[in-house]
Amino acid sequence: MSDKIILLVEDNEDDEELAVLAFERSRIANAMVVARDGQEALDYFFGTEANGFKDAKALPQLVLLDLKLPKVGGLDVLRRLRADPRTRRLPVVILTSSKEEEDLLHGYDLGANSYIRKPVDFTRFADVMQHLQMYWLILNEAPTSGGDRP
């Protein structure tokens, strides 16, 4: 198993389980961490009073971000990630049900690296997840560390 971490921000249990299933089907299996709402996702990065900011090594290699989330919405999570120098280069792929053009444009404006709509057909969904891993964790050169440069 690769030491690279994927953070899945997803509130729907079914979708979470399906994502895990899809990942299991692919050859490359990465550790997957799940945040079940926007606040959990933010806490993961920026910590709480008890739990400080993740060090660079614990940062995920890829964030799969749903948009419609309880507490803090996906776009707000993205905005916070891009506003912080430590996470602003982190690859973030929006993975959502919404095909609304407004969401799409907004996502790109806020600095999403990719925008993918979850297909209903699970076979295709599994394909998509496999491609995502292949591309972002293997082919793509990630920005080294969290990006301490200003």
Partner: protein, 553 residues
């Protein structure tokens, strides 16, 4: 004593009559009378000379005076008729001598008193001026104003009359014309529906018409000669109006449409519009003001009612627009929820069914696996339905561009895509060159995708097919069409053709959601065009649509 023959044209002699006999003696007769009494003779001679001089003077006046001078004897016969008379009447003195005025000069039908004065001067006040109507020799009427005197001695019962006359025909005509003009003006003023007033320099009312009395419910007695600004409880005492009227008098200006809103004593609150103009009298005398007053109250009320209605309408439009916007927002958020929330359970259904088929296939018999596949296919179809429904609703919401669109290029693009999808099929596309319209390229692309996609789909059962895209005239306007020689349809089902989620075929015959033609219809309707279809079962279908043309943009 009437022994001396009076000179034929001696006016002095005729004036003096018989008693003037000594003055009419010739020098020779005088010499005979006076004899050789030298002093008396001299005095007499000088008297005679003086007398002759006077006679010549009178004669000269008689003949050269531009006024008419006429003499009649006590019987009313003409005994004197000067040059002015001759020139006026066209009669010579010889023609009129001894005739009476009525038999010669009086115009027929003349019933004036003047003729009687000449005919029967005894009973007349001779010095009073009077007018007669003469008929000239040429037959024209002349109006003559006379002043007459009796010239005989007071003791006589009947008189010779001297008449001095002036031809006042022209003057009378002018006066008549002026009077006529005045009557004309007055009748206009009286007839005009607008209240009119004439004011003099002191703002006293000199004239008012019936409309004025009626409108302001006042009597002539309360109005004529009264100061304008005191009329009707000083209801016209408006400083700006006073200023305007004074300015008009002094500077020969006029004003139009001076609007006055005032609580009138008799009428209540009215809106009046005043127009005024200075009128100068022809004799260069005083200036006057013609003031026209129009009651605009009803018009203003109508205008205000209209404005009020417009405001209400506008408010309602705003309200409705806001409601529509709210409804639209609700629809959008509904669509958002649909797209997000409805799809999630579908993904679960499909995903877990797939997992079951994949990892637990050995625990399910063929039938169980078949059911799971049916679950998956139903799930995926529902996902497609949701997507199509969203697309359809988005068609009405997206902003639409209006630009020239090359339909030929769009159709060729769609055709290439269809061929690429099923390269083994034998389908001939015949696409007319130069098809163009004005509209939204994206939306029209969607419409053509559906029309050509349909044609492609419904010809799929044939070994070879032809799909034609072209333009033709329809009721004098250009219309586009997409024609195929495929399955066609029964015209009896035409009404279902363009309805959303309506289908004329089963999924097994031809798969589909029944959204395609509904989408086409929305796109064409949003462009302001029409869409219609013809079909024959087993022979094919033709879809027609109109679009705004470039030249009309």
């Amino acid at each position: 004593m009437n022994s001396v023959e009076p000179r034929h044209d001696g006016i002095a002699e005729r004036l003096k009559g018989a008693e003037a006999a000594p003055a009419t003696l010739s020098r020779r007769e005088a010499d005979l009378l006076v004899g050789d009494n030298e002093p008396l003779n001299d005095r007499f001679k000088s008297l005679v000379e003086e007398n002759e001089r006077q006679s010549r003077l009178l004669e000269a006046i008689f003949q050269t005076a531009p006024t008419l001078i006429l003499l009649t004897d006590p019987d009313g016969r003409i005994t004197g008729f000067n040059v002015a008379c001759e020139e006026l009447t066209g009669y010579s003195r010889d023609e009129v001598m001894g005739k009476t005025i009525p038999e010669l000069l009086q115009a027929p039908g003349w019933k004036g008193t003047g003729a009687a004065q000449f005919a029967d001067p005894v009973n007349s006040t001779l010095t009073a001026p009077h007018v007669t109507h003469w008929l000239t020799k040429a037959g024209t009427k002349r109006l003559i104003e006379w002043r007459c005197s009796a010239v005989d001695s007071p003791k006589e019962q009947s008189h010779s009359i001297l008449g001095i006359g002036l031809d006042i025909t022209v003057r009378k005509q002018a006066q008549d014309a002026v009077a006529e003009a005045q009557r004309f003006a007055e009748s206009i003023i009286a007839t005009v529906h607008e209240p009119l007033l004439v004011l003099d320099e002191s703002m006293l009312v000199k004239a008012a018409n019936r409309a004025f009395y009626q409108t302001f419910q006042v009597n002539p007695e309360d109005t004529m000669g009264r100061p304008f600004f005191e009329l009707g409880n000083q209801q016209w005492e408006i400083p700006a109006l006073r200023q305007l009227l004074v300015t008009i008098l002094s500077q020969d200006t006029s004003f139009n449409n001076f609007e006055v809103t005032h609580d009138f004593t008799s009428l209540g609150r009215r809106v009046m519009v005043l127009n005024a103009r200075r009128v100068l009298r022809e004799d260069g005398g005083t200036a006057m003001i013609l003031l026209a007053i129009r009651d605009l109250t009803e018009k203003v009320q109508a205008r205000e009612t209209l404005n009020q209605l417009n405001r209400e309408l506008e408010a309602r439009v705003h309200e409705r627009t806001a409601e529509l916007e709210t409804a639209n927002k609700e629809l959008e958020s509904f669509c958002y929820s649909v797209s997000h929330d409805l799809r999630a359970p579908l993904r679960a259904l499909d995903g877990f069914s797939d997992e079951l088929l994949r990892c637990y296939a050995d625990q399910l018999d063929d039938r169980g696996q078949h059911y799971l596949r049916r679950v998956r296919s139903g799930t995926q179809r529902m996902g497609q339905l949701i997507d199509d429904m969203l697309l359809l609703s988005r068609l009405n919401r997206v902003a639409m561009k209006r630009e020239p669109v090359d339909l030929t290029a769009l159709a060729e693009g769609v055709a290439a895509e269809l061929r690429g999808r099923e390269p083994d099929r034998t389908v001939a596309f015949v696409i007319e060159a130069g098809l163009s319209a004005v509209g939204d390229a994206g939306l029209l692309g969607v419409a053509l995708e559906n029309l050509l996609g349909n044609a492609w789909k419904f010809t799929s059962k044939k070994p070879s097919a032809t799909i034609t895209v072209g333009r033709e005239e329809h009721e004098g306007a250009p219309a586009f069409f997409v024609r195929d020689d495929g399955a066609g349809f029964d015209m009896a089902h035409l009404s279902k053709l363009f309805g959303a989620f309506q289908r004329l075929h089963t999924q097994r015959e031809f798969p589909g959601n029944g959204v395609g033609l509904a989408t086409v219809q929305r796109v064409i309707h949003r462009h302001g065009g029409q869409v219609w279809a013809e079909g024959v079962p087993g022979q094919g279908a033709t879809f027609h649509f109109t679009l705004p043309q470039e030249e009309s943009s």
